[in-house]
């Protein structure tokens, strides 16, 4: 009797488990059954915004997600507004994703004053990597990064460098350059993102600037700026094969400031949904129409899977903690 009861109980549990699992599976199979939103923490027209619009443009295709992805702009304070909103108000159901920018949100969470950290989010996949570069106006007195650093050493705090905000990739690069060279720069965070920082360089408001490789490449093509160095471990062969890395110029600056962009969901999103997105989204990024548009726009791509991104997040978290500890 007891045995029978036990087996019955086990049977019931199995059935219940099976049902709940199949319920989860159907949920994942149905997902997505309505359009998915991607919250971008920067304004419409910025690099993150238009790249997000390109990489999600084929989402509606039947072989990709089968539902279109729309972009929601939540700009402000170097991304803090958007990620704060995502961490506190968005629903953890996979229908609201957010575009992440590394190292921005990790650095901001280490500095505090925001309601998110790397643990608040689950990465889905990475679409691009945009290294920070050092730019100067086309008529600048500096032609190499060494000239600029030497000038800064002689005139501490006099070399103004514009960038998109505090504790974004540009600022991290500036901090790393200061640490590696021992020179003191005046980092000027501008309101209005990379575009405003670039305007300050072109107009001569500042002596130099740190900006995205993609934006700087375009400005260089237009004949408005000179690019002095790339803050990455190797040169960018696709767009700037002739510009040396800072390491080649003799300064110990690694790729911690490279701006990685990708999609993430909120922690607490059902695992089945995460798995489905993690499987489908990299395919979407790799779509040949996406690649064509990204290349045309001068935006370097770097597709990484969920596991790779998780490892990258963890590594950045460590490096940034160390770098920002002294501040």
């Amino acid at each position: 009797m007891n045995k029978l009861f036990k087996s019955l109980a086990i049977g019931a549990t199995t059935v219940a488990l099976g049902m709940s699992m199949s319920a989860g599976a159907t949920f994942a199979a149905d997902f997505p059954d309505r359009p998915i939103g991607v919250a971008v923490s920067y304004g419409a027209g910025g690099a993150t915004d238009f790249q997000a619009r390109i990489v999600t443009m084929v989402a509606g295709n039947e072989d990709v997600l089968g539902q279109p992805i729309y972009i929601l702009n939540k700009p402000g304070a170097g991304g803090r507004v958007g990620w704060n909103w995502f961490a506190t108000e968005a629903e953890a159901d996979g229908y609201t994703m957010s575009a992440y920018n590394i190292p921005h949100f990790i650095a901001q969470s280490i500095k505090g004053g925001v309601s998110y950290s790397a643990d608040s989010f689950e990465p889905i996949a990475n679409w691009g990597a945009d290294p920070a570069v050092v730019v100067v106006g086309k008529d600048s007195q500096f032609s190499t990064i060494n000239e600029m650093v030497d000038y800064a050493k002689e005139n501490p705090g006099k070399v103004t460098l514009s960038g998109a905000g505090l504790f974004v990739g540009h600022h991290i690069a500036a901090l790393q350059i200061e640490k590696a060279t021992g020179a003191k720069f005046a980092y000027i965070p501008t309101k209005g993102g990379g575009a405003a920082a670039m305007k300050a360089v072109i107009a001569g408001d500042v002596l130099g600037g740190i900006n995205n490789l993609s934006d700087a490449f375009r400005a260089q093509q237009a004949g408005n700026v000179k690019i002095l160095g790339v803050a990455d471990v190797e040169r960018n062969a696709e767009f700037l094969p002739d510009v040396p890395t800072l390491k080649e110029a003799g300064y110990d600056v690694d790729n911690a400031s490279v701006n990685f962009r990708g999609l993430m969901v909120k922690k607490g999103t059902p695992q089945a949904v995460i798995d489905k997105l993690a499987a489908k989204v990299p395919e979407m990024f790799a779509h040949k129409r996406v690649a064509k548009r990204m290349k045309a726009g001068g935006s370097p791509m770097k597709i990484m899977s969920r596991a790779e991104v998780q490892a990258m997040w963890a590594k950045r978290q460590e490096t940034l903690k160390e770098l920002l500890a002294g501040l």
Partner: protein
């Protein structure tokens, strides 16, 4: 002191109070460099508010029509509908359904036609449905706005 002057004094007093609170917050919060600009504005704000308050107290400033008690009574039900929509209905029963209901209630509340007039009800219903249909086409279908759906719509 007339009721009108009293109203002015109270309203200017409230503005002055708000200015005082803002000034206090601006000068006590850190980091100082982020609050530099708020402090500059706060000084202007509180000086102007103080001046305005003195003017109201002495009866110099009489711009504006003031509040009329009959008008105020008329506003209360409409305002209540808005507040219920905002804090409760939109998220619980859904954005579209609750705005449809809010539209209908406000239309009915301020419609001069009597409540027992069947024709007037018919008109209210038709106008509401037509208007909300346009809203749905514009915002949900054309602009793909994802409104909070609550338990219904």
């Amino acid at each position: 002191m007339t009721a009108f002057r009293l109203q002015h004094t109270i309203s200017s007093g409230i503005v002055f109070l708000v200015a005082a609170i803002i000034t206090y917050i601006s000068f006590t919060q850190e980091p100082a460099d982020a609050f530099l600009f708020p402090r500059m504005i706060a000084i202007f704000f509180i000086s102007l508010a103080a001046w305005n308050f003195v003017r109201a107290l002495t009866g110099v400033a009489k711009v504006g029509v003031g509040l009329d008690i009959v008008e105020f009574k008329n506003i209360v039900p409409g305002l209540a509908v808005m507040l219920i929509f905002m804090f409760f209905a939109a998220k619980v029963i859904g954005f579209f359904l609750s705005s449809t209901i809010a539209f209908m209630i406000i239309f009915t509340l301020y419609d001069p036609a009597p409540l027992n007039d069947g024709k007037a009800w018919m008109k209210r219903l038709i106008v509401t449905v037509c208007f909300m249909a346009v809203m749905y086409c514009l915002f949900a279908l054309l602009l793909k706005v994802q409104t909070p759906s609550g338990i219904l719509f």
